[in-house]
Symmetry: C2
Subunit: 286 residues, 2 copies
Amino acid sequence: MKIAMVGLGLIGGSAALDLRRAGFATRLVGVEANDAHARQALDLGLVDAVAPLEQAAAEADLVVLAVPVTAIAELLPRVLDVAGGTVTDMGSTKADIGRAVETHPQRHRYVAAHPMAGTEHSGPAAAHPGLFADKVAIVCDRERSGVEHLARVESMFRALGMRLTSMGAADHDLHVAYVSHLSHVSSFALATAVLAMEKDAGTIFDLASGGFASTVRLAKSSPAMWGPIFEQNADHVSAALAAYIAQLREFQHRLARRDFEGLESFMREANRIRPVLERIGRGPTS
Amino acid sequence: MKIAMVGLGLIGGSAALDLRRAGFATRLVGVEANDAHARQALDLGLVDAVAPLEQAAAEADLVVLAVPVTAIAELLPRVLDVAGGTVTDMGSTKADIGRAVETHPQRHRYVAAHPMAGTEHSGPAAAHPGLFADKVAIVCDRERSGVEHLARVESMFRALGMRLTSMGAADHDLHVAYVSHLSHVSSFALATAVLAMEKDAGTIFDLASGGFASTVRLAKSSPAMWGPIFEQNADHVSAALAAYIAQLREFQHRLARRDFEGLESFMREANRIRPVLERIGRGPTS
């Protein structure tokens, strides 16, 4: 299958590697606004060629948009204008992107998707095989897509080794605000709080255990990718952040009252995340 | 050397394993209030025998307190009353514990220490070799300890493969509030916020990527260990938590104003944690 990969960073580059390895892609054409990244992607063998957006989109059996979510919302109508095949995306928000093509005559060619995979790194050099394996791909608003387009995109995610699930775009954006986007906010703010206090990086290094490194890891994430996600999912992220701050204030309140029984019961409640994390660690069982 | 290990959980059990392996401990006597844990520690071969506190402390060359920090503050004077050798501890706070023995006639036998190592697991079964290797051990208020006692404790941490650093107890408690204790609060509250929203654990499982698992991992930590830490370090943890909430509110404010430039610069500031984390990942260079 001829695939146009729009965006050759961590996500697009990793998908290109595995789609070729799986034999799903027979030809891969990249679209990349950053010339240095385009050259790097060619050098790394992520794609066979690079081409302008409209040309690549018109010639492909499947167009995959793997750029920041505001760019997806902007490019998707242009891609649908020229596409003769199937179009999908890998963005972390779904409602705004869906609205951008709601009345497009080719809407049925588009399958709204979100593979739940990534790392805190970015760019073509961060691409690596196996990024998507055993993770979940969410397909949204399936009823808006043509059956042959759904089948093609779902077989692509299966070729990446992913488990499929589906939900409405609005539900998707609500849940990912809590389970994914909020983790990033909490890490970014933990980093700025600690950096503001500890002017001497050596002190952080001396005192930081693996626990700190794990909690703050997502603070390394790309602002260019996450800015647009927070922009598109601002309302849900605001609500999730308010709920998080309310929990922290409850903790703070119990600490101020020296209510250590209350703090322990707060922590016992938090411990209920344990079986969920153990299930994530084990990977899919179905 | 004859060692009395007071507390046979993750920390005490792991230390026992490595001190024996390194040839530093020739005999290990455990003290453990929980009978099931005591039997388990014997079954696992963590210690040669278990004994009551005063007996074990009187007979040992080195007594190591590896119990929750409020228990350390309570047991330390009793141990110093009978000890003929050296006494140290592995608690995550130092000022309160130091105050408990400030005027004790045997204060010079005690070396206040905090090995920066641990996991979110607890109990004798969680003990494992190598837990302390390449981590930092902080020795506090060195001037209060006798030179031969300092030498003995520092050689113990070196036998565990640790790098040594030192600071005052008050400084220690301030810095660990930010770099260690705050990470735990942020994880506990992230878990309770997500669990309150997502009644269906299956949804968390479907949507959670490795990023969520990493950020929330510390929420699995033991309330029995962390309650006393928050109790003893309440003032510094309150200040750190207030600073963290202020950062989150700044993020929330920029989001509410749709100030996406401001959000990106917030994230770029957070990205400055990157070289620190890379240094932690690489381990000690000195």
